[in-house]
Amino acid sequence: MEARDDDEMATAGAQLLMAAGNGSSGPTMDVALKIWRFDSETGERELKQYEVEAPEWSCLLDVLDIVKDRVDGTLSYRKSCRMMICGSCGMRMDGAAVLACKERMKPIVDAGHVPVISAMGNLPILKDLVVDMGPFWAKFKAMKPWLQPGFDEPADGKEYRVSQERMNVIHKEALCINCGCCVSECNSMESDPEFLGPQALAKGMRFVGDARDGATVERLEEYNSEHGIWDCTRCYFCNERCPKGVDPRDAIAKLGAESIKHGIDRDMGAKHAKWFVKSAETTGWLRETELVPKTQGIVSSIKEMKFAMGLARKGKVPPPFPPHVADRVEESRKLRELTKTQGRDGALGIVQGERGLARIEHTDRGGARRDVPETDPTEPPVLRDLS
């Protein structure tokens, strides 16, 4: 092997150096952003604006690095791999959780937008963009997140024999990098800080769906208790904000389906779901008047009677008798039959869209697409003591 002898430089020098130079070569842009600073030693909070020059290929993390290096060394945030796998740099941009290393800045700059950066939600802030992940990991550990094979060891002392198809059941859950973006945006956790939350429950599904795990029933029993799967409000914010395409809400749905499959259905949430199935199977419609007693029980329903009568008077609920049967109810029944014959009750019945893959938010070659934030990001982040 020979390199050209008359090369002035052993390597292509500047061409190779774009990555580390922080703007030393290649086209640059002027980036402006606002950062919610917080100093837990003094309790001071302030929204500060920064303007720096950055390479056009910069992501949010690269811009933060430039700010810290050249403008204000006291800015704190976590970072490590800068390639969307270590999960360190979860934070909020315009009020929604992102991985800083994944957010390209050029389209934002081109749009003339000045984004507001703040710490993740639902976790106590330590400093600037750094949150205390303690409560996050406590929930992770509460899931008993390790394989419990029981007594079913591989006979030949080698690997368990599991088909790729069977492994694919937990394909998405296994992608989770524990960044906390889903927890940051979880609406249920905002009202109940003890809710196990999307990340921990997705980890739970990773084991429930693993053919090698022998503790399925024990796990489902635990995940069905208070603050468990049925406390999820199905707002889908976790699916929306997960930077890796794990789809934690789908994982929670799978846990629900597996619970019912295993007869773990004492929770109102499970009863509610079961009634939907029963109702669709029998009449092809949802029979709302029966939904409440089937879900909450008779005693509780009697207490709701006055409210129900009110609704009926206003024409908000159909009369329960005679039952309204859909014209082609047999289709609905056949569908139900099909899920049974195909063995698609349980997790396999949860239809998922694309393969696990981070949503790539860019349109053609123009870069990332950003939605208009719904919340006012200039409001200071909520400080919480969850300890």
């Binding site: 002898d5 190779l16 130079g21 060394g73 390209r104 330590l126 992770f140 394989l147 368990y160 990098i177």
Partner: protein, 560 residues
């Protein structure tokens, strides 16, 4: 001393966690100290896989694995250490699988294996292209199961040496501030590599060679420090890793003319030649004007969308996010970038260093398994096998010895030095020194090396070290002061750069990653079939040599 343990492990990547599990299971009181949470460790960024002769995809055995590794190392690897790795690899991989690692599967449900560079058989067990992530997760799960103590976000800074033994670690509590001395009968360094020495690197910001410098400053030798691997496929412009698994699945490397240029460099193995060979080929193409904007192209298109989505979805995600290229439709721009340090802390086959009580495992160590060039898939395997072995040995030693002493001076010296740094109100910010170090290392100590440039780099590093004496930390606070820890990391890197230059100048031959086409284009077994060793004399590096351990493979001409 605020706490003490039988075994204290610095770093919580694959090697550190595997060592902790083994030491715990051997009955020792174990703790891990890590500057980032275990799952954030850079082992998680490994993509392609882990090599073990399982024989699931072909008729393979550890002997073939060992031969490929010896040849790949350009005969600088110690053959006894390589034999240990290859013999123990299959059992260690089955153990990971039994713990729940989510490996990809063959038709008959076994662990799937794919071809990798310079391997005679499809030997690389994998989990799509997120193998490191899957292993980090399974090891952390096992750590949680055992309730092993982790000093999370503690920054290890110095080793405590007393009575010619390593007896603990002095560290900075990143979350709350404050120096802490943690005593230990044995310390295992598992801090990973130092890729941040280079401008273009696949390595995380955390890869700053902490453990190498801590050992060096404690009087332990570093081995083969000139051997920095340049990975042939790092994404332009960000430098993140595009897995060798792409080529394992059949991807082509093309130059600006659309030519599979490897036919002129490695006509038999083509894209599956070893990494040093391909990196040099790419660099030559780029230098001679057949590159595309300083890159060559990695073409996956003929693999088809289905295969890309199933086995290389992480690669697609990285390409689309950082290069705005969808590999289903367009080739990916790639170029060589610093990736893996074959060199590191000199250890024996149990991970033990020359300092009693001090061990090293994984990339921080140099056993030496990889010699002058590491094969893809062997790094993850080394972290597991040698992490496990060092954990076992350290636990056994700790359980038969009792005392731990941390002299008060060790803490007070560290406190004084830290105070000096924090009290400084005027000086130079670290970033300029850091960037200059990284760009000059890339220019002067990169894929191809020249005598004059290496000498020049020695002077550059000396100048940067002088400037570092006046480095300014702006953040004076206690809580999450990364300004302080980043300045300390830069100090680690500068010492290592010094060592690398000294070793590079001394090795007057071309072997593996150390390519000197202008003055010493050939391998010289007569004079240089031996390891470089550097120690620190208080001022700078001192060079020494050690013969390579040979068992049954004699050096041969290396072609692919």
């Amino acid at each position: 001393m605020e706490a003490k343990h039988d075994v204290l492990i610095v770093g919580a990547g694959c090697a550190g966690m595997r060592a902790a599990i083994e030491a715990h299971d051997a009955g020792a009181d174990v703790a891990i100290i890590s500057k980032i949470h275990p799952v954030r460790s850079h082992s998680g960024a490994a993509e392609g896989g882990i090599n073990a002769a399982l024989g699931n995809a072909s008729d393979d055995d550890p002997e073939k694995h060992a031969y490929d590794t010896v040849k790949g190392s350009d005969y600088l690897g110690d053959q006894d250490a390589i034999q240990v790795l290859c013999d123990e690899a299959p059992g260690d991989v089955y153990e990971l699988e039994n713990w729940g690692a989510v490996f990809s599967r063959t038709e008959d449900g076994r662990i799937a294996q794919r071809p990798f560079g310079a391997a005679g058989e499809p030997r690389t067990a994998y989990a799509a292209d997120i193998t490191g992530h899957v292993l980090i997760q399974v090891l952390y799960e096992q750590l949680v199961k055992r309730d092993i103590l982790v000093y999370e976000e503690y920054f290890a800074w110095r080793l405590v040496v007393d009575d010619d033994r390593c007896q603990g670690v002095i560290s900075w509590d990143l979350v709350n501030g404050g120096l802490h001395a943690i005593g230990a009968k044995t310390v295992i360094l598992a801090t990973g590599g130092a890729g941040r020495l280079y401008a273009g690197t696949t390595n995380a910001y955390a890869c700053t060679g902490d453990g190498m410098t801590m050992a060096l400053q404690a009087g332990v030798a570093l081995k083969d420090m000139e051997m920095m691997q340049f990975h042939p496929t790092t994404l332009s412009p960000s430098g993140v890793l595009i897995t060798e698994g792409c080529r394992g699945e059949g991807a082509y490397l093309l130059n600006a003319d659309g030519e599979r240029f490897l036919k002129r460099y490695a006509p038999n193995a083509m894209e599956l030649a070893s990494r040093d060979v391909i990196s040099r080929a790419e660099q030559t193409e780029i230098d001679e004007g057949r590159g595309v904007d300083g890159s060559v192209l990695l073409d996956l298109r003929h693999l088809g969308a289905e295969r890309i989505l199933e086995r290389l979805h992480g690669t697609r995600e990285l390409s689309m996010t950082f290069a705005l290229v969808d590999p289903i439709h367009d080739p990916i721009p790639v170029r060589p970038g610093s990736h893996y340090h074959m060199g590191g802390v000199d250890t024996d086959v149990w991970g033990l260093t020359s300092l009693g009580g001090l061990y090293a495992a994984g990339e921080v160590a140099c056993v030496s398994v990889h010699g002058a060039n590491r094969l893809g898939g062997n790094a993850l395997m080394e972290t597991i096998t040698y992490g496990k072995r060092s954990g076992r040995h350290a636990a056994e030693w700790a359980l038969s010895n009792t005392t731990v002493t941390v002299p008060p001076s060790a803490v007070s010296d560290a406190e004084r030095d830290l105070r000096t740094l924090l009290d400084r109100t005027d000086g130079e910010r670290p970033w300029r020194i850091r960037d200059e170090l990284a760009t000059t290392m890339h220019e002067n100590f990169g894929v191809f090396r020249r005598e004059s440039q290496m000498q020049q780099q020695g002077e550059v590093v000396a100048g940067l070290r002088e400037r570092y004496e006046r480095v300014l930390v702006e953040d004076k606070g206690n809580v999450f002061n990364t300004d302080l820890t980043q300045a300390l990391e830069l100090g680690f890197l500068l010492d290592l750069a010094d060592c690398m230059v000294v070793c590079g100048l001394a090795r007057k031959e071309s072997r593996g990653a150390h390519a000197r086409p202008y003055d010493y284009p050939d391998r010289d077994d007569e004079n240089f079939l031996r390891h470089t060793l550097v120690t620190w004399n208080g001022e700078g590096p001192v060079l020494d040599w050690r013969p390579v351990t040979m068992t049954k493979w004699q050096p041969q001409v290396r072609s692919y």
